[in-house]
Amino acid sequence: MSEEKLDLLQGTLDLMVLQTLAAMGEQHGYGIARRIEQVSGDEVLLNQGTIYASLVRLQQRGWIDAEWGISDNNRKAKFYSITKRGRKQLKEDVAYWRRLAMVMGRVLEQ
C-alpha cells in the first residue's frame, strides 16, 4: 500500500460514531466499526478496538445510550443509540466541520 491510511484523531472518531448511529439507528460496537470502515472506503486506519473508548466518552456525555441486547445472529451484544442531545450535538459538529473544510479548502487552493 503506497498511500498511508489517515490516522484518526480522538474527536473525529467520536463524530463518526455519532453520525453512524444517527444514520443507522441502534447498533453494536462491531457494527459501528464495520460501517465506518465501509463508508470511508477503507481509507481510514481504524484499530477497531479503539471504538470502545469513543463509545464510553459519548455515553458519559449523554449523547448516546447503551443497552445489552441480542444481535441478529443471536449473540449478546451491547447496543448503542443516539439521544436527542446527541442529535443536537451532531448537528453543531457537522456544521462546524463543513465550515472548517470550506475554509481550509479556500486557503489551500490559493
Partner: protein, 894 residues
C-alpha cells in the same frame, strides 16, 4: 464548554469507583465483538484460524483498546498517581536506611522552619491582640541617657497632651515605675503572698479595646482621691490564686494591709507582661489615681488610639505642635515647655506594634534566614543522596524507557518519591515544631515580647505544607531530570555506565556539595560572629559583681509624723535589718537600695558643680539611687573615697556619691572627692566616686549616676542586697526569718540572685545566639555528611581505576593522599565561595553584633580551619577504604 461536560465529570468519578464491573462489561463487549468479526470472516470464506487472526488484526491491540477505554472513562490521573505511590512506597520500603535518614533530615529542617515561622509570626507579623490594633500608637520622648524618667510623662503633661491633641480617640498610660512584687495579698491568717500589681489609668482597657471576662472595668469614680481600692485580676493569677472562682467579682480581699474589692477578671487573651514588659509577670491591675502621682514627676508612657483615617505621620506632626505646651508640673510654671528638646526631636509617635517588637525585627529576620538555610542545605544533601540512588537505579529507568515510559512519566514518579519523603518529613516536622512552640511559649524568663501568646495554629500548618512542597521540588527535581535524560543504550549495556557518564554525574554531585559547604560556611560565620558578640557582652564590666549576691525586696513601716522623723526611723530600721542579716553565717556584706541596676530607674534634679557654669543642655539629669551604707560593698562596686555612714543623717551635711562618668564631666581632670554639687540651693558634698554601673541595659552606654543616703532622702522602694561566701539560695530561708522577726508583715519575697537579673537582660541575645549556633552545627553536620557521601561514591565508582593504579605500583599512602586531596580541593572551593558570601551577609547583620567587626578575622579563620578539619575527617574513611583496595579483586569485578 461543550454540552455534557459536567455529566461527563460526574460519570468519570463514578466510573473510578466501579472499575471491576465496568472492566467485566468491556471484556464481554470485546469478546462479543471478536466473535462477530470471526463470524463475518468465516462467512466471507476464511478458515476459522485465519478468520480469527484477521479479526484480531482488524481489532488492533486488545490491551491497548482496554487501556484507551479505561483512560476515557475513569480518572486516569488518579490511577497513575495511585500506581506511582504504591511503587514509591515499595521502593522506599526496600531501602529503609536511606528512607529513615532522609525523613529525619527533612523532619528536622521542616520542623525548625515551622517553629521559627511561628515565632516570627507571633512577634513580628501578627497584629497585636487588640481590636483595630493598627490604630494604637506609643507616644514618648526619644530615648535619652536619663533612663526611664526621660521616657515618660507627668500626670499634668498627660492631661494637657490629651486635651490638646486632635489625632486620637483617646490616650491612656500606666505607671512605668511599678516594680515586681509590689503588693501583698493576705488570705485569712495565712502568710502574705507577694504579687505584682500594675497601676494603669482609668481608661486603659477602653483605649486598648479589652473587655473583661467577668465583672466590669474601672469607672471614673475609682480613680478619684480617697476612692475605695478596686482591682482587676489577670486571668492566669485568677486561675492560680483563686482557683478560677467564678464568684470572685465583688469579693473583698486584703491587699498590703488595706481592703480592696475585686471588680473583674480580665480575659485570657490579655497579658500585660507579654506586650509591655516582656520577661515579667503582672498579676493584678489597679487604678492609677492621678492626684496621688501628680507631684511624682514623670511616671507614665502614653498609649493612644488614633482616630480612623489618621496616619502616624499626622499624629507625629500634631504631637510636635502640642509638646511645647506641656508642663511638667503646673504648680511650677517654669517647668512648662520643658519637654522640648533643643537638639532634636522632642517626641516620637510610633505604632504600638513597632514599639513592642520593632527592636527585634533584625534578629528575627536573621533567625528566619538561618533556619531557611538549614532547610536548603538539607535539600541539597538529599538531592545528592537521591542522585546517587537514581544512579544506582539507572538500569531500571533505561528498561522502563525502552518499554515505552515517557520521560514525563518517570520524572513524575521520581517527584512522587520526593513528595512522599517530604510529606513524611513534614508530618514528623509538624510534631517537632509543635513541641518546640509549646516549650518556647513557657519560657517566662525569656524577655521576648508576645512570647506567651505563641501558639500553634493553622498558619503554621499551612507553612508546613508550603515548606514540604518547596523542599520536594528543590531536592527532587534535579535527580529526576538527570535520570530521565540518561543515555538508554549505554545504561543497558552490561558493563555499566561509561566512565564519562559517571564523571559528569560526579561533577554534579561535587557541585552540590560545594554549595552545601558554602552555605554551611555562611551559617558558621554568622554563628561565630554572634557568639563572639555574646561573649563580649558577658565580658562587659557591669560595674558590680553579680555572682555570689542576691537581693530581696523588704517591707518596713514607713509611717511617722514628718519627713525628719521618718528619715530617723528609717535609719534605725535599716541599720537594725542590716546588722541582723550581716551576722548570719556566710553573709559578707549587706545593704539596701531603692532601685537595682538593669531594672527600672528614675532621675530628678540636675546638680551643678559649685562655682562652675555649663552651657544649657550640657548637663543631663543623672539617675538617682538612694542607698544605705554597705550597699556598694554588697554589690561589689568599686568605690574611691568613703561610703555612707550611719551618722550621715538628716542633721549632718548632705552627702552624695557620684559615678566616674559624672565626675569626669563635672570636674574634668580633677578629683571629685571633697567637691560640692549645687542642687538648687542645697549643697551636696561628694564623698566618693564609684565606677560606672550599667543601669538600663548591659549593652547601652553608661549614663550618670548619683547616690544619696537613705537617711537624707526618701527611697522609693527597698531592696536588700546580700553578698555571701556561700551560694545565696541557701541563705534565703534564714534571711526571711530574720526579716520576719523584725517585721511579721514581711511577705515571702523572691530571693533573687543578681546573676538572674543580668541573665534576663541578656536573654534575648543569648537565645538568638544559641539558635543560630544550633543551626550552624546542624548545617555543619549535614555538609560533612554530604562530603562523605560524594567522596565515598567517587571511591566506589573508581574502584577499578584505583586497583589499576595500585597494581602499577601506587602505594597505599599515595592513594589515600589522592582521595584526601580531592576532598580538600572540593571543600576549599566551597569555603572560598562561602567566605565571600559570608562577608556580604555579615555586613547585613552588623547591627546585631557587639564589639565585633563583621570582618572579624579570628571568626573567619576559625570557621575555615573547622571546615577543613571536618573535610579531612569526612574524607578519612573513604580514603582508608580506597587504600585497602585489593588490586586483584578490583580488576576482576566489574
Amino acid at each position: 464548554m461543550k454540552d455534557g461536560w459536567l455529566e461527563q465529570a460526574w460519570n468519570r468519578i463514578r466510573a473510578f469507583f466501579h472499575k471491576e464491573p465496568l472492566d467485566a462489561d468491556l471484556e464481554a463487549e470485546m469478546a462479543s465483538h471478536l466473535e462477530m468479526a470471526v463470524e463475518e470472516n468465516v462467512r466471507r470464506g476464511m478458515t476459522p484460524e485465519e478468520a480469527r487472526r484477521m479479526a484480531m488484526v482488524r481489532f488492533g491491540g486488545m490491551q491497548q483498546a482496554r487501556e484507551k477505554q479505561r483512560a476515557a472513562r475513569g480518572l486516569p490521573f488518579v490511577d497513575v498517581l495511585g500506581q506511582d505511590m504504591r511503587y514509591t512506597l515499595r521502593t522506599l520500603g526496600r531501602d529503609a536506611g536511606f528512607t529513615t535518614v532522609a525523613v529525619l533530615i527533612l523532619a528536622l529542617g521542616i520542623g525548625a522552619n515551622v517553629a521559627v515561622f511561628s515565632v516570627v509570626n507571633t512577634i513580628l507579623l501578627r497584629p497585636l491582640p487588640f481590636p483595630q490594633s493598627q490604630q494604637l500608637v506609643w507616644i514618648a520622648p526619644p530615648p535619652q541617657k536619663c533612663g526611664l524618667s526621660c521616657a515618660t510623662y507627668s500626670i499634668d503633661a498627660y492631661e494637657e497632651f490629651r486635651a490638646q491633641s486632635r489625632s486620637y480617640q483617646d490616650i491612656t498610660g500606666y505607671n512605668a515605675f511599678t516594680g515586681p512584687d509590689n503588693l501583698r495579698l493576705t488570705v485569712g491568717n495565712g502568710e502574705p503572698q507577694p504579687l505584682t500589681g500594675m497601676e494603669v489609668l482609668g481608661n486603659f482597657f477602653q483605649v486598648l479595646g479589652v473587655h473583661p471576662m467577668l465583672g466590669r472595668l474601672f469607672d471614673p469614680e475609682d480613680t478619684l482621691k480617697g476612692a475605695h481600692w478596686v482591682v482587676l485580676l489577670e486571668y492566669a493569677y485568677w486561675k492560680r490564686q483563686f482557683a478560677g472562682d467564678k464568684g470572685i467579682v465583688g469579693k473583698e480581699i486584703e491587699l498590703s494591709g488595706e481592703p480592696a474589692t475585686v471588680v473583674g477578671v480580665l480575659p485570657e487573651s490579655f497579658d500585660f507582661g507579654a506586650v509591655f514588659s516582656p520577661g515579667s509577670r503582672v498579676d493584678m491591675i489597679t487604678p492609677l489615681i492621678p492626684d496621688y502621682e501628680r507631684d511624682d514627676g514623670n511616671v507614665i508612657p502614653l498609649i493612644g488610639r488614633l482616630k480612623p483615617g489618621v496616619t502616624v505621620g499626622q499624629a507625629q506632626a500634631d504631637a510636635e505642635m502640642v509638646v511645647p505646651k506641656l508642663c511638667w508640673n503646673i504648680k511650677y510654671p517654669q517647668s512648662c515647655g520643658s519637654y522640648v528638646n533643643k537638639q532634636g526631636a522632642s517626641i516620637e509617635v510610633r505604632t504600638l506594634k513597632d514599639y513592642v517588637s520593632g527592636r527585634l525585627r533584625r534578629s528575627l529576620i536573621v533567625l528566619w534566614s538561618a533556619v531557611g538555610m538549614i532547610l536548603l542545605i538539607a535539600c541539597v544533601n538529599l538531592s545528592n543522596l537521591l542522585l546517587a540512588r537514581a544512579a544506582a537505579r539507572g538500569k531500571e529507568f533505561a528498561m522502563r524507557s525502552a518499554l515505552g515510559a515517557s520521560r514525563g512519566r518517570m520524572v513524575r514518579q521520581l517527584m512522587t518519591e520526593s513528595l512522599i519523603l517530604s510529606g513524611a518529613g513534614a508530618v514528623l516536622g509538624l510534631g517537632l515544631a509543635w513541641a518546640l512552640v509549646a516549650w518556647l511559649a513557657h519560657q517566662g524568663s525569656l524577655a521576648l515580647p508576645l512570647l506567651s501568646t505563641l501558639h500553634f495554629d493553622g498558619q503554621a500548618v499551612g507553612w508546613t505544607v508550603v515548606m514540604a512542597i518547596a523542599a520536594a521540588v528543590l531536592f527532587g527535581l534535579m535527580p529526576g531530570l538527570r535520570m530521565a535524560s540518561g543515555n538508554l543504550i549505554e545504561t543497558l549495556k552490561d558493563s555499566g555506565h561509561g566512565a564519562s557518564a559517571g564523571r559528569k554525574h560526579e561533577t554534579v554531585r561535587a557541585t552540590l556539595v560545594i554549595a552545601e559547604v558554602g552555605l554551611a560556611c555562611v551559617l558558621l560565620v554568622g554563628a561565630g560572629l554572634l557568639l563572639r558578640s555574646f561573649l563580649k557582652v558577658l565580658d562587659i564590666d557591669l560595674g558590680f559583681q553579680p555572682d555570689q549576691a542576691a537581693s530581696m525586696r523588704v517591707v518596713y513601716d514607713d509611717s511617722a509624723a514628718n519627713d525628719d522623723a521618718r528619715a530617723a526611723r528609717r535609719g534605725v530600721i535599716f541599720q537594725e535589718m542590716i546588722a541582723r542579716v550581716s551576722v548570719l553565717p556566710g553573709v559578707k556584706a549587706a545593704g539596701i537600695v531603692d532601685f537595682l541596676p538593669l531594672g527600672p530607674n528614675r532621675a530628678w534634679g540636675t546638680p551643678t558643680p559649685q562655682g562652675k557654669t555649663f552651657p544649657p543642655g550640657a548637663l543631663a539629669a543623672p539617675l538617682v539611687y538612694v542607698c544605705t551604707p554597705g550597699y556598694m560593698r554588697a554589690m561589689g562596686m568599686r568605690l574611691r573615697g568613703r561610703d555612707f555612714r550611719w551618722d550621715d543623717g538628716p542633721k549632718s551635711q548632705e552627702v552624695v556619691i557620684i559615678n566616674a562618668a559624672a565626675a569626669r564631666t563635672y570636674w574634668p581632670g580633677e578629683d571629685a572627692v571633697g567637691k560640692v554639687l549645687m542642687s538648687g540651693n542645697t549643697q551636696l558634698h561628694v564623698i566618693g566616686v564609684v565606677d560606672d554601673v550599667h543601669t538600663s541595659s548591659v549593652e547601652a552606654e553608661k549614663g550618670w549616676q548619683i547616690y544619696y543616703s537613705a537617711m537624707q532622702r526618701g527611697p522609693d522602694d527597698a531592696h536588700l542586697v546580700i553578698r555571701s561566701s556561700v551560694p545565696p539560695a541557701t541563705l534565703a530561708g534564714s534571711v526571711l526569718r530574720t526579716l520576719r522577726a523584725m517585721n511579721p508583715n514581711q511577705p515571702a519575697m523572691e530571693f533573687q540572685p543578681l546573676r538572674t537579673i543580668v541573665d534576663r537582660a541578656v536573654s534575648p541575645r543569648r537565645f538568638f545566639m544559641l539558635l543560630v549556633g544550633i543551626f550552624a552545627g546542624l548545617g555543619l553536620l549535614l555538609a560533612s555528611l554530604g562530603i562523605y557521601g560524594v567522596i565515598a561514591y567517587g571511591v566506589t565508582r573508581q574502584t577499578q581505576e584505583i586497583g589499576i593504579r595500585m597494581a602499577l605500583g601506587a602505594s597505599r599512602g599515595r592513594v589515600q593522599r589522592s582521595v584526601l586531596g580531592k576532598t580538600l580541593s572540593m571543600v576549599l572551593i566551597g569555603v572560598g565561595v562561602g567566605t565571600v558570601a559570608s562577608l556580604a551577609v555579615a555586613r547585613l547583620i552588623a547591627s546585631l553584633l557587639f564589639g565585633t567587626e563583621a570582618t572579624d578575622p579570628m571568626t573567619y579563620a576559625g570557621v575555615i580551619v573547622l571546615l577543613l578539619a571536618v573535610a579531612l575527617v569526612a574524607g578519612y574513611l573513604p580514603a582508608r577504604r580506597a587504600s585497602r583496595i585489593n588490586p586483584l579483586t578490583a580488576l576482576r569485578t566489574n
